[in-house]
Amino acid sequence: MHSIRSRGGAAVNGRRAVITGLGVVAPGGVGTKAFWQAITSGRTATRLITAFDAAAFRSRIAAEVDFDPAAAELSHREIRRLDRAAQFALVATRETLSDSGLELSRLDPARVGVSIGTAVGCTCKLEAEYLVLSDTGREWLVDHSYTSPHLHDYYMPGSMAAEIAWEVNAQGPVTAVSAGCTSGLDALGHAVDLIREGTVDVMVAGGTEAPISPITVACFDAIKATSPSTDDAAHAMRPFDRTRTGFVLGEGAAVLLVEAEEHARARDARIYAEITGFASRSNAYHMTGLRPDGTELAAAVTAALDESKLPPDAIDYVNAHGTATKQNDRHETAALKKALGEHAYRIPVSSIKSMIGHSLGAIGSIEIAACALAIDQGIVPPTANLTEPDPELDLDYVPLEAREQHLGAVLSVGSGFGGFQSAMVLARPRSRAA
């Protein structure tokens, strides 16, 4: 493979953005270590929904996080006040800070920012509060006397970015990024931009989502995007498989410490990987449909490679969007061939969503955490449940079992409702002498 080659890396103003901390809350395990063990062992976390009674729904499966907020050391107030997605984000933030070894008190808070991706915001709380205010949907003129004092925070999900900023004392740019299912990638891309342009030294960035509520499940039911394979929930999400039936809704968060390389070097931080390039494009085609040729996703990949100053054959692994819908897996395969050419056939391409489901605005960040670990550990996580290859899909999708492999640069892609297409390239950190 192409492990020993000159690596690229775009430096604007000479500044590079590196990942120095990881915090993950994912189905199958809270915490980065549990997450990595789960996805490298090929274990799936999809199951019948326990969050609510889903008997009336077409898809009754989800990848849920077994999350005990008290065990995760959230305070009683945080548990009462915060939506589940904000709780995930806060727990992931605390982990990433501790993992990074960063001492907040030594930073200039004005040089610290926050960028948090979310697709559907505080849906769980919005729906739960609505049921109270509307008497279970019966009153259009909802009764404000039952209003939670925190309702505005659920209404405007920038509140989740604010929550993280309060936690870490970030006084630089703070925002939520909400570009649907690419939010998690886009939020990190925004962080990289801010570091490179010199606005900040440190970004607490990632994505969070807790969409397993009746309204979100009903949304995906309505368009038949989610898998109805209720009889075998553990194998319901089968990306790139001939028998694939759609995605399984997931939840979780990943919050990463993204830092200017010089800042990280100065404090002798452990560097997992450099984020060398990012690009987003629109397909300008359809809110939920994809053009089969994958032109815009390919364009995003090419732009991310250009920004990375890397040729297509520098990529050693692709973390796929891999949502196991008929159209996505075709679209994505076409896009990878278009952007990487023949090289696409020579490298592993896997979808960890097969194990942890599709957590909308969080998954892009969770996948970047996986990519950083893949580089760091030299392991490619597999695509679970891929037992019957689809003759139309002819790349190496790493079925069932993880592989050990030295990785120099990896690509992660995302695609979502609204036509959003995003791509991010990570590379092994430069050796200190470089």
Binding site: H150, N169, D221, I223
Partner: protein, 425 residues
Amino acid sequence: MTTAVVTGIGIAAPNGLGTDNFWAATLRGQSGIDTLRRFDVSGYPSRLGGEIDGFDPADHLPGRLIPQTDRMTQIALAASDWALADAGVAAETYDTTQMGVATAGASGGLEYGQRELDTLWTAGPQHVSVYMSFAWFYAVNTGQISIRHGLRGPAGVVVSDQAGGLDAVGQARRNIRKGARLIVSGGMDSSFCPYGWVSRISAGTLSRSDDPSSAYLPFDVRAQGHVPGEGGAILVVEDAQAARARGARAYGEVAGYGATFDAAARHGGGRGLRRAVEAALADAGAAAADIGVVFADGSGTPEDDRAEAETITAVFGPGAVPVTVPKTMTGRMNSGGAPTDLACALLALRDGIVPPTINVRTIAPGYDIDLVIGQPRPWRPGAALVMSRGKGGFNSAIVLCPAAQVLSGAPTDEIRDPHRTRLEE
């Protein structure tokens, strides 16, 4: 560095649909605030809103789009049409991959969401609309605008409450600096439905007055909160060189941008709003004296007003720069508010006139600001500052300057003249 200019404006505001109607109403001091009519507000503690009248989506959009979209998306699509037409941009103006979208949202298509929540809980999941999955989420306007106009370049959506409208334009400029030729930006919000209304009430900052002429009075001794509005502005932000090459008129340059967050209340440190303003000025290469007018956030709650007045005074000196809040005529339009202020500032640059703040009579003691009250004020166009804040601690600021004017390096004598805005007083 690449320069980003605004070449197209599309406004949909409670006091006027379309730039000309809006600007004429704004200069007349005509308000769009009244008792909300979209639903029965009589049972709620706050009853006034800035509602857009006379917007029939069927006049602007193909029939098939209407059942797929929330009102705020319908308005955003119409405004994007107006903005691109104003800029003289057609599908073939640039390669479609060099044109993108960056909008701000705050609450998504919540009116649509409330309707479908009702459907789900009263009729069952199989009755939820097939469009619900993309009609409610916060990315919808960017997605729909990109599809409507075939914009296949970078796409983005930011959510930072009221400040988001400026953050989106900051994002647009960033993408132009990275190589895009044109980004459709701005923000649009509505959620004038009971659930959206109650959500806003829960923030505790809505005025409870029933008098449209005294409900929203930023910087006034009688300030008692704000009135929400619906709508906003869509702006075409373009690479200046490319715009010049195609002979486009530029309203002004997005010369400086700064965004900060207030976490100081928990952790100590200085106020974020001032840092945002100073960052935007520094980014523009402008001195405080270069700024000829300030479009204030104008929260309308005494504590925030004081903080903003103190910031203005600290940066510019007591009463040193005209300050205005045209939002007094529209209400606060969430992510649509600040883009509308940017549009106002650009029109003020074009016409040499600063729009007024209406209804305010007596500025609260201790606020040393020169608020443009009641009547528009002529000025010699220079640079303008737009400030915006969002609930939770978001602060953003943008410096606009006339397109031909270069602030960085050596400001001209004219720009340095601190009295230029008072010449016609």
